[in-house]
């Protein structure tokens, strides 16, 4: 189910709001820059964040040009005016959680070196707007630790070889591995069955060991 790995460590610069010179006014536009220091360009699987009054989001991606044998980088629009608040004057979506999958992007977010989130809030109703708790998840790469452990491989190899491990195991007083695994599977199936058939109908009791004597309500 969960294809993405745990979030990447990245540097998220604080939101910069568009302004003219020193004067502060409600421009309705802000930028968050995300850098991935000490890392090769990454393939993004998912970006998750909590909205804080941003109405629409565009994402620019800095993509390494290694594919076309060119050096340097290019900026590409990955997402354009993705709506976070359907009506900027109203609260809907203003503090919601969002998950952007790679399929939501208009260009596949592969080989990315940096991201720029361009935030827009046309409504003057809100004092500030930004995004919080931004997490970037990279696509899962083949992880050597997740492959079959060494000892299992060795067992497989053994059974294929001429060493007749079954005989060896019997000699050592151990049961047949195939039999054990069959039995284990049976047990697993039974366990699953009991979990499935357990009625989720509550009995409706509210007392504890027959007692429901209460003095005061608890504040915690």
């Amino acid at each position: 189910m969960n294809d993405a790995e745990s979030p990447l460590s990245c540097t998220i610069r604080p939101t910069k709001y568009l302004s003219i010179g020193e004067s502060m006014f409600h421009s309705g536009c802000g930028v968050i820059e995300i850098l991935f220091p000490n890392m090769r360009p990454i393939d993004i699987e998912k970006i998750s964040f909590v909205n804080n009054y941003t109405a629409a989001l565009s994402i620019k991606m800095k993509i390494a040009k290694s594919a076309s044998n060119q050096t340097g980088h290019t900026w590409v629009t990955g997402l354009k005016n993705y709506q976070l608040m359907p009506k900027p004057h109203c609260e809907t979506g203003s503090q919601s959680y969002f998950h952007l999958m790679s399929s939501d992007f208009c260009k596949q977010p592969n080989e990315v070196c940096a991201l720029r989130f361009i935030l827009r809030q046309p409504s003057p109703n809100w004092k500030t707007f930004t995004l919080e708790e931004i997490y970037v998840h990279a696509k899962k790469t083949k992880d050597p630790t997740n492959e079959n452990p060494k000892w299992l491989e060795s067992v497989e190899n053994l059974s294929a070889s001429e060493m007749k491990p079954r005989d060896q195991a019997e000699l050592k007083g151990l049961p047949d591995t195939e039999q054990v695994s069959e039995k284990m599977q049976e047990i697993l199936q039974l366990a699953e069955k009991t979990v499935l058939s357990a009625p989720n109908v509550e009995l409706g009791r509210f007392d504890i060991d027959g007692s429901y004597e209460i003095n005061l309500l608890s504040y915690t």
Partner: protein, 553 residues
């Protein structure tokens, strides 16, 4: 065999869920919803019954092994089990609308806006404090076990609890709609910036960008959107409550409607019954139609459950019982229409307070049930309990949610289960602070914005004489007009609430009432006058009023 039936059961459930989801395009998380519903149905009585029925069908000699699957499904359809399953899935659809996402904190799923969560938490704390101080002042516990003889006494007078006149003068309702309104109107978004650019100042209403009392910018539907939602209200349709009145002697419509109602009842399908309610139920068929529309079945197990909860009422005496008692005495018993139902009300409300299945609704509302510990076990998590067992502390006027239903159901068990479903589906939203599109805050805001756009002069006039319209309308909204309209009109209104599955009709009607009395209201120059001209709503006709707002050209 059983495993095979089991599989079909889920497949059937799956198909129905898919079908209904397609009707509601807002739900995109189809797979998750199906999974949730199937999980909820797993292990229920219906599940067992279906399996047994399927096994029974499978054992018939006419069934071929090769076509076992289709034969069993076909015979389940014919014997009516499929209908029951459909109804149950339809009912569950109402409770699993927001599917839970593991990645999002639970409290944020209950209520996305942080300041709303805080407001609700503070409000709950206030209620707790008030409950606790009542306990300390009167030096009574929240809950105590009844001695055996007291239990016997109560059982003896179960059907005539109203005759008992305990001294309740020291008890006071935990809160009244007025207190609740104060809390709702004080909700502010800390990130809100008024259009004048100045900080929000509570003392100077003029600087706030909302004219009304509600100062949060929730999304409310526009008139055009309302027209779309309530399209069946259009003037071209005939309605029960309008076209069957004695002024329009049109037997045709009434007869046709009765015939159709009979057919709908025979069909026993929740969605059809619910849709039928949109244009009103003939009064003779209302009880059955509502029950089918709500998907309430009263089998022998439900009766057993009811009796079990009655046993719980006898076992323990709760402080909440006295609050319920007091509330019934203060509201329903005082009402000319409802006082006869006093004994029913006690039975239903006391049992309601012991029903732990109501707790399930807290997973999709911004409220949290009050918690306590068994005496002497303070702080020990394994002795933590919810108080009252259903998690709902009644407020002044709570019993009015039940009273109109007493006109429809004479058996307490049926009355109870219909009321519970009504509460879980609709009424609990009316006394909880949330940003839900049908929560009380949104309803209030819709009332204010509609009245402003329909009749700005009236709104301004009322505000100038110091009478914010919401102050009058709020009590109507919180009680869903129960106790304000005449009973027949109230039931016509609740027909529509159930039919459209939507509480937004409440503010629409409130606006209609203000507009209907506008000539009077514009002449009045003080608060008392406004209250007087809006105090008696018992002569109003609900359906024409609603139409006048929704479809007035």
């Amino acid at each position: 065999m059983l495993r095979c039936c089991n599989k079909h059961f889920f497949r059937l459930a799956l198909i129905f869920v898919k079908f209904w989801l397609r009707m509601d395009s807002k739900l995109d998380n189809v797979a998750k919803t199906i999974d949730d519903i199937v999980k909820q149905l797993n292990g229920t009585t219906l599940h067992t019954q279906l399996k047994r029925a399927a096994q029974h069908e499978g054992e018939k000699s006419s069934v071929q092994l090769s076509s076992l699957k289709s034969d069993v499904i076909q015979s389940l359809k014919l014997s009516g089990w499929e209908k029951l399953l459909r109804n149950e899935v339809f009912r569950k659809m109402h409770s699993v609308q927001n599917t839970l996402d593991q990645a999002i904190p639970f409290e944020c799923q209950k209520e996305p806006l942080m300041y709303m969560r805080k407001a609700q938490a503070n409000w709950e704390r206030r209620i707790l404090k008030s409950m606790n101080s009542m306990c300390t002042e009167l030096s009574i516990p929240l809950s105590r076990k009844r001695p055996a003889d007291e239990q016997r006494d109560l059982l003896h007078k179960w059907n005539e609890m109203g005759t008992d006149e305990p001294d309740l003068s020291h008890f006071r309702p935990v809160y009244a709609p007025k207190d609740f309104l104060e809390v709702i109107t004080s909700i502010r978004n800390p990130n809100y910036c008024s259009l004048t650019g100045s900080e929000i100042d509570d003392r100077s209403l003029n600087f706030e960008s909302h004219w009304g009392l509600i100062q949060v910018s929730l999304q409310v539907p526009s008139l055009a959107e309302l027209r779309e939602i309530f399209a069946e209200f259009s003037l071209s349709n005939a309605h029960v409550g309008l076209d069957d009145s004695p002024d329009f002697p049109s037997d045709m419509f009434q007869n046709e409607r009765n015939k159709l109602a009979k057919r709908v009842i025979d069909e026993k399908r929740s969605p059809i019954a619910q849709y039928f309610c949109r244009r009103g139920c003939p009064s003779g068929f209302r009880a059955d139609l509502w029950q089918i529309a709500l998907g309430v079945t009263v089998g022998h197990l439900d009766v057993l459950k009811y009796e079990q909860m009655k046993g719980y009422v006898l076992q323990h005496d709760l402080l909440v019982d006295s609050l319920i008692y007091k509330d019934v005495k203060l509201t329903s018993v005082n009402d000319d229409y409802y006082f006869v139902f006093e004994d029913y009300l006690y039975q239903v409300l006391l049992i309601f307070s012991r029903d732990t299945s109501v707790l399930e609704l807290f997973s999709r509302s911004s409220a949290t049930p009050p918690k306590s510990y068994i005496r002497g076990k303070l702080g020990l998590e394994e002795f933590a309990v919810v108080y009252p067992p259903n998690g709902v502390i009644p407020f002044h006027g709570f019993s009015m949610y039940v009273t109109p239903l007493c006109y429809l159901y004479s058996e307490p068990v049926r009355l109870y289960y219909v009321f519970r479903e009504f509460y879980v589906r609709f009424f609990h939203r009316l006394h909880v602070i949330s940003s839900h599109p049908q929560g009380i805050v949104t309803l209030c805001l819709l009332f204010e914005s509609l009245l402003q756009s329909f009749h700005p002069t009236l709104f301004r006039h009322l505000q100038d004489i110091g009478c914010q319209p919401l102050k009058i309308a709020f009590k109507w909204l919180v009680r869903a007009f129960s106790g304000y309209l005449s009973t027949d009109q109230l039931l016509l209104l609740w027909d529509r609430i159930l039919g459209f599955n939507n509480l937004l009709l409440l503010p629409v009607l409130a606006v209609a009432i203000f507009l209907f009395r506008q000539t009077n209201l514009l002449l009045v120059t003080n608060v008392a006058g406004v209250e007087a001209s809006l105090s008696d709503l018992s002569t109003l006709q609900v359906i024409p009023l609603l139409q006048s707002v929704l479809f007035h050209s």
